[in-house]
Subunit: 150 residues, 2 copies
């Protein structure tokens, strides 16, 4: 059949049939992040055009501070944390939405006390992230934006 | 600035700056459904390619039973209910994912006791839904799939 519609059940801290993956290669630029690809990654879901991923950042952890040409649509579904978004540092909590426009520096940071879990929707075909330059980091620091690692 | 990145805060039962909209025109084909367009609907978010909507179906309510060429990526974030998906009727609960492949008949039904809330991601540019034919409804009924209205 060409009908690949399906329900993927959530059970406890995972989804049935969905593997937990490394967020990225080992790096000093991120800490405590896991990734689940929920929908759109399989060839038989290519009608979707996008991939729906779930990221979970452990307490005190953070994703890479980075930018790219593709946009992100993020919906927080668990925990609390902060987001570096351009030159702002903003608090986020469940069901808050974060639109990351093209080429905006961004980083998701979990609070010290609890994990931060969020859905992140991206195009299936997209450009690779770029890390900020030393000058950009200095500019953020001068504005008091608390990026990590410091 | 061309940086339109933003956080849209969730507060109680709504999102700041996001209007609750009618699901569709008045019709006997659906009941008790509201719609919020969270990300991607604004021109300045067109880099996204998709629109992230939040639908909430009141207790006992249901969306239209319909099909279309574009795919849906759905993540339940509130309540419980059932989904007609092709020729199946499946239970859903928070964080369950529903991938609706092209041309699959589908309907979201809230349980009698609580509202069903879900994110639904679709392409910005997409075809219009088609209602099932009487023959298709008869086929579903003969398989014991409980679609609505009956």
């Amino acid at each position: 059949v060409n009908d690949r519609s399906k329900v993927t059940k959530h059970a406890g801290s995972h989804w049935e049939g969905v593997s937990e993956r490394a967020y990225k290669d080992e790096s000093a630029h991120h800490r405590g992040v896991t990734r689940h690809e929920l929908m759109g990654a399989a060839d038989d879901e290519s009608a979707l055009g996008v991939i729906v991923r779930y990221f979970e950042v452990a307490p005190g952890g953070y994703s890479s501070l980075e930018r790219h040409e593709h946009a992100h649509a993020v919906v927080v579904i668990r925990g609390t944390g902060t987001v570096v978004l351009g030159e702002q540092l903003l608090a986020v909590a469940p069901f808050d939405c974060v639109y990351v426009a093209p080429n905006t520096l961004h980083q998701f940071q979990a609070s010290a006390a609890e994990a931060l879990g969020f859905l992140c929707i991206v195009d299936r075909v997209r450009d690779r992230p770029i890390l900020p330059s030393p000058a950009e980091l200095a500019a953020l620091a001068s504005r008091g934006v608390s990026f990590k690692p410091r």
